[in-house]
């Protein structure tokens, strides 16, 4: 019973700390260098971390929307990165 209470307290504290951390992080300043990156540059930098860069011709605009959302979650892309990469792929295909 004591152990159960301890686990609950630790889990609660852990979740609180995580949310506090995420709140702080989401309010952190992003450098101008990062803000200035184009979709093509982000596509080149991020996709290559796991696999070859996909050809923009692979999917249609509608399909890229789904593929980029899938990769945003899988590869931990930021919201801004995902939007810029999707825009680039749709423009270039």
């Amino acid at each position: 019973m004591k152990n159960k209470r301890k686990s609950l307290i630790y889990s609660g504290l852990g979740t609180l700390i995580l949310f506090a951390l995420i709140f702080l992080l989401s309010n952190c300043n992003v450098s101008n260098e990062i803000k200035a990156k184009s979709g093509a540059q982000l596509w080149g930098e991020n996709c290559l971390r796991c696999h070859n860069n996909p050809s923009p011709e692979t999917f249609s605009d509608v399909e890229w929307d789904v593929a980029v959302m899938h990769m945003r979650i899988r590869a931990n892309l930021t919201d801004e990165e995902a939007k810029k990469i999707a825009k680039f792929l749709k423009t270039a295909n």
């Binding site: 952190c28 450098s31 930098e45 070859n52 999917f59 509608v62 789904v66 899938h70 931990n76 892309l77």
Partner: protein, 400 residues
């Protein structure tokens, strides 16, 4: 006479013209409707479905036999319900022991809570280290076989059922990504069903064998502004014994450190890809029944249940040279090792080298010619599955 003929011709001309205009108007209206429908389709927030996946097969020449292997087909179903909600699932069809094996790699629902936080629940690929989460598809992996410690006979988790919070954020010019999850967690093999694997952890724990849930996470730090370097720390903790058994308090701690470095090398006109991971699995010591002791059926034995595994790989591809054939080649080398507990019936101390020459037909289709050599000792060996020895592996993989 001429006037009589001209009148019907004029009438016919106007009739045809009116009909043709009407036809053009109808056609224009239809095209306009089609364009409106297409516009509707491209609006955000509409449901969208995508079928992706990969397939691979190969020829393997080992010291025991030469055999075609694989024939694996992994479709991935992705359904985007809205700009925030997505479902995804990966199935695996493969031949195993002369039977068709259908597996569910993952099936989960993701919801974007905020710009930097996503919640996922269901069966997910665990972000523990980097191999399973990022490198397991055959067309992504640069080698014909997996490193030691991963997959069948491995010690590391692949997927699990539970709930996860994950996301990424910038810190100035650096970036971090994070994941925190609560899962069913591993299940301890208590030796009742598979005595030769007593003390091992199994990750197909559904329904859960106890009321405890495993807690884990991964923190990745990308210090360079071009995201070329990532250092990751993973951990997981949970009770692994059955809730109503003598193993109820047996717990496991899992940890991993991984490093990735991907960089364009202009002087070599090549892309350099380095990845490495060290991980450990520590399970509380426990007494297991010694089924091999025929004199005393109640005899018990124990061992220090500590495991570790490492892999380090490097790949170079001259992707920036002008020659199309040359830039399609890639060379890769990998070292991996696996150390499982001495005194257990599944003790092993293995190390492995694998070298691969790859040819990329396009960005997602690859032919891999690999040479693999594995040395060491395996206490418990299922015969044909023994990885010890030398082998030539020729694999073909395609992502779609």
């Amino acid at each position: 006479m001429k006037n009589i003929l001209i009148l019907p011709v004029i009438l016919l001309f106007f009739t045809i013209n009116a009909y043709s205009q009407n036809y053009d108007n109808q056609k224009f209206e239809k095209m306009s409707n089609d364009i409106d429908s297409l516009k509707e389709l491209s609006k955000p927030g509409k449901s969208k479905f995508l079928l992706r996946g990969y397939s691979h097969s190969g020829l393997e020449i080992t010291e025991e036999n030469t055999s075609f292997v694989g024939g694996s087909f992994n479709p991935i179903f992705i359904y985007k319900q809205s700009d925030r909600l997505m479902f995804e699932s990966e199935l695996e069809f493969e031949l195993e022991d002369r039977n068709l094996n259908i597996g569910l790699e993952y099936a989960n629902i993701s919801y974007l809570l905020t710009k930097s936080l996503t919640v996922r629940f269901g069966k997910i690929l665990l972000p523990f280290g980097i191999f399973v989460d990022r490198m397991h598809p055959a067309w992504v992996d640069k080698f014909s076989s997996k490193p030691l410690g991963v997959g069948h006979g491995g010690i590391l988790p692949g997927s699990d059922i539970g709930i996860e919070l994950r996301g990424a954020s910038y810190l100035g010019s650096s970036k971090i990504n994070y994941s925190l999850y609560v899962m069913n967690g591993p299940r301890l093999n208590e030796g009742d069903e598979e005595p030769d694997e007593a003390g091992q952890l199994h990750y197909d724990n559904f329904p859960d064998n106890n009321k405890n849930k495993a807690i884990g996470g991964r923190l990745g730090f990308l210090p360079l502004s071009n995201s070329s370097l990532e250092i990751g720390f993973s951990g997981m903790y949970g009770k692994v014994g059955s809730g109503n058994s003598q193993y109820a308090d047996v717990a496991s701690k899992l940890y991993a450190i991984d490093i990735s470095y991907i960089q364009n090398l202009p002087f070599m006109q090549s892309v350099l890809d380095i990845k490495t991971r060290y991980s450990g699995v520590i399970t509380d010591n426990a007494d297991y029944r010694d089924y091999d002791n025929l004199v005393n059926p109640d005899a018990m034995y124990t061992f220090t249940n500590q495991n570790s595994t490492t892999f380090a790989q490097i790949a170079i591809r001259p992707a920036m040279v002008n020659n199309k054939i040359l830039r399609s080649f890639e060379i890769a080398g990998r070292y991996s090792d696996l150390l499982t507990p001495e005194g257990s019936k599944w003790a092993s101390n293995l190390n492995q080298w694998e070298f691969s020459l790859n040819y990329w037909l396009n960005w997602r289709t690859v032919f891999k010619l690999s040479y693999r050599t594995t040395e060491g000792e395996v206490e418990y060996d299922e015969g044909t599955d023994s990885p010890v020895g030398k082998a030539f592996l020729f694999h073909w993989a395609i992502g779609f």
